[in-house]
Symmetry: C2
C-alpha cells in the first residue's frame, strides 16, 4: 500500500491550493486553462482517483441510482435493467440492484436503507405482495422515485407503464376470433394497477363479445410454485377451458407442463398465450403466442425520467408515455 494520492498530493506537488486542484478537476470556470491542464496531467500521471465517499459526503450526491425489482432472473426485468443501465452509463452513474423476491417487507427494508443518502434516486417495480402504499408515499417525498411497469395505484408519482388494458383486450379478441369460447385467465399482480388493468381488458373483451365468465376460470398466482401448478392443473380438468391467458410469464411455464402432464394438446385442445419476454418463446413446443412488453425501452424511459428529476428539469405528466406492447401470434394460439 503506497501512500494514497489525494487532492492534497496534487496540490503539494504543483504548489497550488487544494481548492484550486478540486476546482480544476471539476472543470470549474474559475480556473485557468493552463492550471487545469497541469492538474489533469499530474492526476493522470499519479493515477489520482477521486474518493467517492468524501465526494458524496461533501456534495450530497452519490452518482448512484438504485433499481428495485422483484426478480432479476426474469426476462422482463433483466431487459429493463439493461435499458436502465444504458442510460445510467451515459451519465456515468452507478447502479445498485435490489431484489425483493416479491416480498413486501424486504422491499420496505430496502427503501428505508436507501433514503439516507446512499443513492440519488430510485427506480422501482413494486412487489406483487405490496398493498400498503403508506411507506411509498413518504419515500417519494424524500428522494426522486420513478416507478416502472408495476406502480402503486394511489400515489402521485412518475410511472412508466405499458398499455396493459388494451393489450389484454386485444389478446382476448385474438383468441375469440380463433374460435375460443371458454377462456381462462391466470391472474397475478391483482393488487396492482398493472394486474387490474390486464384483468379488466380480458373481462371487457369477453363481455363485448357476449362470452360468459365465471370465477372458476380465474386462477390466481401463488408464491408456492407447486400450488400454482396444482391450481392450473385443476383448472384444466374442472373447467376444460379452450384457451388460457396468462398475465405473467411465471404462470405460462407451469401451464405448459400441466397440459403435457394431462395429455392436452396445444393449440388443438387448449390455446395459450401469455404476457412474456421469454427469448425462447418462438422455440417452445409449441411456439408461444406472447404479449411482449418493450422491456428495454421501459427501462430507458424510466431512467430518463429519473434523470430529469435529478436535473430538476420540469415536465408535465402527459409527457410520460404509455408504451405499447405487441401481440406476437405463434403456434400456441393457431386456429
Amino acid at each position: 500500500m503506497t501512500e494514497n494520492v489525494t487532492v492534497k498530493t496534487l496540490a503539494r506537488e504543483l504548489n497550488i491550493s487544494i481548492a484550486t486542484v478540486s476546482k480544476a478537476l471539476n472543470d470549474s470556470h474559475e480556473i485557468s486553462l493552463d492550471t487545469k491542464q497541469k492538474v489533469l496531467a499530474l492526476a493522470k500521471k499519479l493515477k489520482y482517483e477521486r474518493n467517492p465517499a468524501a465526494s458524496n459526503l461533501r456534495s450530497q450526491k452519490t452518482k448512484t441510482i438504485a433499481v428495485i425489482v422483484p426478480e432479476i432472473a426474469n426476462s422482463f426485468f433483466s431487459l429493463a435493467i439493461n435499458g436502465i443501465e444504458e442510460i445510467a452509463r451515459k451519465r456515468d452513474y452507478h447502479v445498485l440492484i435490489y431484489q425483493t423476491h416479491e416480498n413486501s417487507d424486504t422491499e420496505t427494508a430496502f427503501t428505508e436503507s436507501l433514503v439516507c443518502g446512499r443513492v440519488d434516486g430510485i427506480l422501482i417495480s413494486v412487489s406483487s405482495s405490496t398493498n400498503n402504499s403508506l411507506h411509498f408515499k413518504s419515500l417519494v417525498k424524500k428522494i426522486p422515485v420513478v416507478f416502472f411497469d408495476r406502480a402503486i395505484d394511489d400515489i402521485d408519482a412518475i410511472k412508466v407503464t405499458t398499455d396493459d388494458y388494451e393489450s389484454a383486450y386485444n389478446a382476448t379478441l385474438h383468441l375469440i376470433e380463433n374460435g375460443c369460447k371458454n377462456i381462462a385467465y391466470l391472474s397475478a399482480l391483482s393488487k396492482l394497477d398493472t394486474g387490474k388493468k390486464r384483468i379488466q381488458g380480458y373481462l371487457d373483451a369477453l363481455k363485448n363479445k357476449g362470452l360468459g365468465f365465471n370465477e372458476g376460470l380465474m386462477v390466481t398466482h401463488d408464491a408456492d410454485k407447486d400450488k400454482t401448478y396444482d391450481r392450473i392443473k385443476n383448472l384444466l380438468t374442472s373447467q376444460k377451458p379452450d384457451a388460457i391467458i396468462s398475465s405473467v410469464e411465471e404462470m405460462v411455464i407451469p401451464a405448459y407442463h400441466a397440459c403435457k402432464a394431462l395429455g392436452m394438446r396445444i393449440p388443438d385442445d387448449v390455446k395459450i398465450l401469455s404476457f412474456s419476454n421469454l427469448s425462447t418463446a418462438a422455440l417452445l413446443n409449441p411456439s408461444l403466442t406472447t404479449i411482449t412488453q418493450p422491456a428495454f425501452e421501459i427501462g430507458q424511459e424510466a431512467a430518463g425520467f429519473l434523470f430529469k428529476l435529478l436535473d430538476k428539469k420540469y415536465f408535465t405528466t402527459d409527457e410520460i408515455p404509455v408504451l405499447k406492447s405487441v401481440l406476437i401470434k405463434r403456434d400456441s394460439t393457431a386456429g
Copy 2:
C-alpha cells in the same frame, strides 16, 4: 426538508458526547448497557439513519460489493447473482452490478472505477473478449477479487468454477453412445480456461472413442448475432453433422432456428445439446438436453469466498470447490 438527524442531534438531546453516541451505535464494549439503550431508543424515535458516505470515508469500508458480469439477461448470470445476493444480504452488504456486454474495454473501465474505494470487494466473470490479463493482475493486488465461472487463466486468484472438462467430455460420450459420429461444436469463450476446457473435453472424448475431427466442425461465436446464425447454418449444410454441442446457451437458440429454417429434424437428423441454464429447456421443441451448471451455488460460493477475504480469514486454495454440472438428457438427443 427538516433538519437532518445525525449523531450530533442524538448527542445534544441526550447530553452526552458524539463519541459516546457513535460508539453506542456501533455496540462498542466501552459503553454501558444503559447508555446504549438510551441512544438506540432515541435513534429509533428520531429515525436516525447513519450517513453512509461519512461512515465510508472515516472507516474506509463501504459495505458494498461489485458484481461484474457479461450480461444480466442470461439465465446463468442472473441465477449466479441471486446466489451472490443471498449471501450479501445476510451480511447486510449492498450489491452494485455492472454489465460488460462482453466488451473488454468496458470491463477495464469498470474495474478502474472501482479500485478507489467505492466497493470493498469484487466478484467477476470476465468478458469473452478479454485476453489481456495485465490489468487484472494489478487489480487483485489492490482489492479483494473472486472470479466465478469465467476466470483469467494465468492469474493467481480465487476462482470458483465448474467441471467444464468433465461435463463436456461426458456430454460428448452421451452423443456418441446415441450413435453420433460427426459431432460439431459451437465454440465460445475460447480465450478463457472455461472455454478451453470444454473444447478439450469434447476433443478428448472424440479421440478416445476413435472419432474423427476436422476444423470445419468447429464454429466460433461472433458478437454479431446474424453472423453466428449464418455460420451455424453454413455448418449444417456443409458438414452435415449428426450432432451439435453448444458451449454456450446463446448459440443453441440460433442452432434451433437454423435447423427449423433448413427443415432438419431434431433429434432425428441432428442431435443437439448445450451448456445452459434456460428455465424453458424442457419446454423447447424438442426439449433440450442441457449441461446445467449450478449457477445459484456458484454465486453463493464465490460470494462466500469474497467475504472470507474481506474477513481476512485464511484458507487454502484446495478448499475452493470445483462445482459439478449435471447433464440433463432430454428429447433433443434422444436415440
